[in-house]
Point group: C2
Amino acid sequence: MAGTVFFSVSMSLDGFIAPESSEELMGQQWMELQQWVFPQRFFRENLKLGKGGEEGRDNDILRETFERTGASVMGRRMFDAGERMWPEEAPFHTSVFVVTHERRDPWERPGGTTFHFVDDGIGSALDRAREAAGDRDVRIAGGGATIVEYLDHGLVDEFSIAISPVLFGAGIRLFEGVDAGRVALEQVRVEPTQRVTHLTYAARNR
Amino acid sequence: MAGTVFFSVSMSLDGFIAPESSEELMGQQWMELQQWVFPQRFFRENLKLGKGGEEGRDNDILRETFERTGASVMGRRMFDAGERMWPEEAPFHTSVFVVTHERRDPWERPGGTTFHFVDDGIGSALDRAREAAGDRDVRIAGGGATIVEYLDHGLVDEFSIAISPVLFGAGIRLFEGVDAGRVALEQVRVEPTQRVTHLTYAARNR
């Protein structure tokens, strides 16, 4: 069987995964949302921020999420924001398929990340990601609108949300515009840590 | 020390606690949101629906929430919807302070629930509820707008959310319009059950 299609995000308790504009990506609430990630050993290693870091369950979850991912799919807006922010050695180290309307040649980064630009729809991007992932899983990396499109089409098998104890009040909502009547969920795993609660759900269409 | 001020609600994974209109209160998603409550022994006893029912952690949580509550505060919209739906023996069995602009005499129901109508603000309603509650806690019963008002004013000490594996897509959001920058949260307890995840947070102003 082919790998699982999943997403994994950090969400505020009121449902946001990002501020309205990428300029606010260093704002206080965003930092609080991601606070469980920054001190982890795996995060620091992967972004070459230095040795050391925490090694508890939060770190394991980051590492497991990375290791299961054979390829990623992302929306154009996430790519545009990331293109300015990722280090030269982008943190994916696999193929990444960007859903876009623009034709563009693959963009190869040092460290194994290659961005492929797919202009014929989300199904095609997923097919190519599955093929690239082999036995590993495909991660729908984001952002919110892209995740909702895959959910609405029944193309997500499961997902994990790290709920942080922070309220945003405004920003980009994870489930904005989801076709709620079509998506059935099942709670499959709950892992609280000191900083957040990791919730995992199976998804299917109904 | 006086009792704790808390709220306790069921929330969809996308942040909703009720449908847009009370006519939809029997819709499929609403039923799924509350599905963890209906089979519980305490819920059935309290609403005189008959003997029997489940007795696990979900049931204990319902019972503990009821038993700690010495008085409740609710908004006018919640009262209006409930006035039509609660059985004659309303399920509170304590004093309930309704924040309203209307003057109205107390309304006493069989079984110990008395609704008091408070027309001079949320602080006054809370003061009266604290006095009525004695050593027990005060529950901000809802709805969303009333909960947010108390949160914004730093008047909520802690709260519990039962997150159900359901998406609403539309309806009344728990944290709609919250003054997010003023509310600091701390995750204090996580209890997953078969049906939902019970998250408890401490709140304070910052």
